[in-house]
């Protein structure tokens, strides 16, 4: 057995970095903190790579399967004898894979930010928050139990809040951060309820005992029913609600596009590569329960994923803010991953979808981070987010152009880039499971290629735009991460995921299914072709098309009015129909009742005070009448 106890330092180092930078950075070394943060991250990146190597290649498999290793565990809070929150490090294929993804992307983003954020006010604060985020995200993926996951789930939420609202003097950023936090918080409510229901029935939070396919948790849980579904299904649906919120699936996706108000490196790290896939990771983590004890919940996962992917893809075709296009693209790709999990079975080749999902998560992290960082470089050069204000940038930004093109090709699924492989596995898994979902994903593949190349052509080709000052290529700190990630996007497709990351830890054989792959490449090319015709040169066709499909276009452009629906719910219903009446009720009914009691008392006492008139004769009169009355009472009436 190899000792993995050092892995505890992987999350802890960024945590101390956060404390250190947060408390001392501002005063003592505002300039140096970026370098410090990056160095810290570099160390844990190396540690993660070592861990991955040791885990996948030197640890002995038992019975041909990768084992779950608890590298570290300590009780943090005891609830009951059986229920306790532990903090620890759990190593298994997906957590190790996530370690690699997070540290790689995070390191790239750190390096990139050194250039991108240079000279910004709050430079050290930015790096402190990035460290906080890295800590939380690593803690999340390494969680040994579901409650630890929930803890870090909240922490990534708050780091995301802090980073989106980094430009806190910009009202739109403030609004976006608030929205992101509240929407995900609402989803987390579901997660929490799910955890509670789960723990009530299984009496454990621990992942290993929860997800043991032959363990009591799975075999017992399907019994008790409520509204036609087993309790386990209910709890999994609630847990998935948390995943929906964090991964910006429909209907909790509305925060993600707005979250683009944050600095671009943050979007790349949090809102493309790592945090938003936490939902996928969550489902993958609980996958044995989904697959074995709660198939209905798993179906919901599949449909939510499929719907989100096509929904987002349609919206992405109409947006003009490049970061928003990428945001919807992220949502769409995560939908893919969800769908892949949803159509997967447990164990062996049945678990193709699971493997595909993780594979796509991995490749997506690379190319989407690349896309965002590229977009950041563009924005850095042009000082605008809007496609309409860009065009012909290929001459000014050669490195960005090439890397961006690679990323676009990857996401469009052009072989032999990584996106092709992972997407192909997903489509294959969907084909075996559900033809309808398969068809939807085909359409999404085409749409994806179309909107990505729409973006690409309008930014780098298209009309010649006059700029205030000539855009220039970004500094080396920004281009080097782009190049590294581009290389990653090209090469990661060749990683044998079916050997490493599978639903039950055992390797299985899978080969390229040409019947799936060829049409998917073709449809990708078709999308690119259409984009080429419409956007390569400045042309009037897009506007005409938009005019032809006026209503559909308008709906898609306005994101199907989801924001408005939410606004209606929050402003009109929660605020106007609940909160204000509650406040009114409190002041005018509850409090008024209390005040009324007081006034009645006071009124009565004023009346009584009137008796005390100081008029001697009145007193006398009352006294005598009273005496006479008493006399009558006692002598004649009360015999």
């Amino acid at each position: 057995m190899i000792n993995f106890s050092y892995t505890i330092w992987i999350p802890l180092l960024p945590f101390f970095m956060f404390i250190f930078l947060g408390l001392a950075g501002h005063k003592y070394f505002p300039k140096l903190s970026g370098i410090l943060g990056t160095c810290g991250l570099a160390i844990i990146t190396v540690l993660s790579y070592i861990t991955a190597y040791k885990y996948f290649f030197t640890t002995e498999k038992v019975d041909g399967a990768f084992q779950k290793i608890t590298a570290f565990n300590t009780t943090w809070l005891q609830f009951t004898d059986k229920l306790h929150i532990d903090l620890g490090v759990l190593l298994d294929p997906i957590s190790v894979m996530m370690l690699v993804v997070i540290t790689t992307v995070s390191l790239m983003v750190h390096i990139y930010s050194l250039g991108y954020m240079k000279g910004e006010k709050g430079f050290e604060r930015f790096f402190a928050f990035l460290s906080l985020f890295s800590f939380s995200m690593l803690g999340l993926v390494l969680a040994t139990n579901i409650f630890q996951m929930y803890i870090f789930w909240e922490l990534v939420g708050v780091s995301s809040f802090l980073l989106i609202g980094f430009y806190y003097q910009k009202p739109s950023a403030v609004r976006a951060s608030k929205k992101a936090f509240i929407v995900t918080r609402f989803a987390d409510l579901g997660f929490l309820i799910g955890i509670l229901i789960l723990s009530f029935n299984t009496k454990t939070f621990d992942f290993i005992s929860l997800t043991d396919p032959s363990g009591t948790a799975i075999t017992q849980g399907s019994g008790i029913g409520f509204l036609g579904l087993s309790i386990m299904t209910w709890s999994m649906i609630f847990v998935f609600m948390g995943g929906v919120g964090k991964s910006a699936m429909f209907p909790f996706h509305i925060w993600l596009p707005d979250a683009m108000e944050g600095p671009t490196p943050v979007s790349a790290l949090i809102h493309a590569a790592t945090m938003v896939v936490a939902g996928v990771y969550l489902v993958a983590r609980m996958f044995p329960i989904y697959a074995l004890a709660a198939p209905v919940a798993l179906n919901i996962v599949a449909y939510v994923g499929a719907f989100s992917s096509i929904f987002a893809a349609i919206i992405a075709c109409t947006q003009t803010d490049i970061k928003r296009v990428l945001a919807y693209s992220t949502m769409s790709q995560i939908g893919y991953m969800m769908l892949a999990l949803g159509v997967s079975g447990y164990g062996g080749h049945e678990g193709l979808g699971y493997m595909a999902s993780m594979f796509h998560l991995f490749t997506h992290a690379m190319f989407k981070a690349l896309l965002f960082l590229g977009a950041g470089a563009i924005i850095h050069a042009v000082h605008s987010n809007h496609m309409t204000e860009m065009g012909g940038l290929r001459k000014y930004l050669p490195i960005t152009h090439i890397t961006f093109l690679i990323a676009c090709l990857t996401i469009a699924g052009i072989p032999p880039l990584s996106g092709f492989f992972s997407k192909d596995e997903i489509l294959a898994a969907a084909l075996h499971h559900n033809k309808l979902l398969f068809a939807v994903e085909y359409a999404v593949a085409g749409l994806t290629a179309f909107y990505m190349f729409r973006l690409y052509f309008s930014v780098f080709w298209g009309k010649e735009t006059a700029y205030h000052h000539t855009p220039h290529e970004a500094p080396a700190t920004m281009t080097i991460p782009l190049i590294i990630l581009a290389i990653g996007s090209v090469l990661t497709g060749f990683i044998p995921f079916n050997q490493l990351v599978t639903s039950d830890g055992r390797a299985f054989e899978s080969e390229l299914e040409l019947m799936v792959a060829i049409p998917s490449v073709l449809i990708g090319l078709l999308g690119i072709g259409i984009a080429y015709i419409l956007y390569k040169k400045e042309s009037a066709i897009p506007d005409k098309l938009a005019a032809t499909f006026k209503y559909s276009y308008k709906w898609a452009y306005n994101k199907f009015y989801m924001d408005e629906v939410y606004l209606f719910v929050t402003k009109k219903i929660i605020f106007k129909l609940i909160s204000e009446p509650v406040a009114w009720f409190d002041r005018n009914v509850v409090d008024a009742t209390m005040n009324a009691i007081a006034s009645v008392t006071q009124g009565v006492s004023f009346r009584i005070r009137g008796f005390q008139s100081g008029q001697l004769q009145k007193y006398g009169f009352v006294f005598i009448t009273g005496a006479i009355m008493l006399a009558i009472l006692f002598i004649y009436l009360w015999k």
Partner: protein
């Protein structure tokens, strides 16, 4: 017998009439004089009951002392010719009702009750007996009440002087409590 009864009726009539006049007369000095008549008639009743000493005390103290005191104070505080405002109708009606009701109640009770006298012989009330009893510490003695009364009289005397002495805050300096 008859003369007794006539005397009693005379005295009672005087008492009742002058009592009512005392409390209804609208001239204060006249009221005082009516009171004097009531007190004198009362002392007449005392004579009838064979309490001569008490009757004498009544005459000297009440008729002589208190009424004079009252008249003095009237002279100090009012004009002799001053007429009172008539009492409010409601007030007098209610008071009258209360008084008459009380009176009727008491009278009915008195008439209903069967008083039974003891058969023992009456004690002769002479001055010596009164003096002895007042200062005696025996079973029949009244030394304690006597002393108490003495102290009370002394206290009243001092109190009257202290109160009537000029001093204390003037009216304008009084705190006004009438807010409501």
């Amino acid at each position: 017998m008859i003369s007794n009864q006539i005397m009693f009726i005379l005295f009672s009539a005087m008492i009742i009439v002058f009592s009512i006049l005392t409390v209804t007369s609208r001239k204060i000095l006249r009221a005082a004089v009516y009171l004097l008549f009531v007190l004198v008639s009362t002392s007449g009743l005392y004579f009838m009951l064979d309490y001569q000493f008490l009757a004498a005390v009544q005459l000297t103290l009440y008729a002589g002392g208190i009424v004079v005191l009252i008249i003095f104070s009237i002279l100090l505080t009012s004009h002799i010719s001053q007429k009172f405002e008539p009492t409010g109708i409601m007030k007098s009606v209610f008071s009258a009702i209360a008084s008459i009701a009380g009176a009727i109640l008491a009278i009915i009770t008195i008439l209903d009750y069967n008083f039974s006298a003891t058969a023992q012989a009456a004690k002769e009330v002479d001055m010596r007996l009164i003096g002895n009893s007042l200062l005696s510490v025996d079973y029949d003695g009244y030394i304690l009440p006597f002393e108490v009364i003495s102290v009370l009289l002394l206290a009243a005397m001092i109190a009257a002087i202290v109160i009537a002495k000029r001093g204390g805050p003037e009216k304008s300096e009084l705190p006004t409590l009438k807010q409501e």
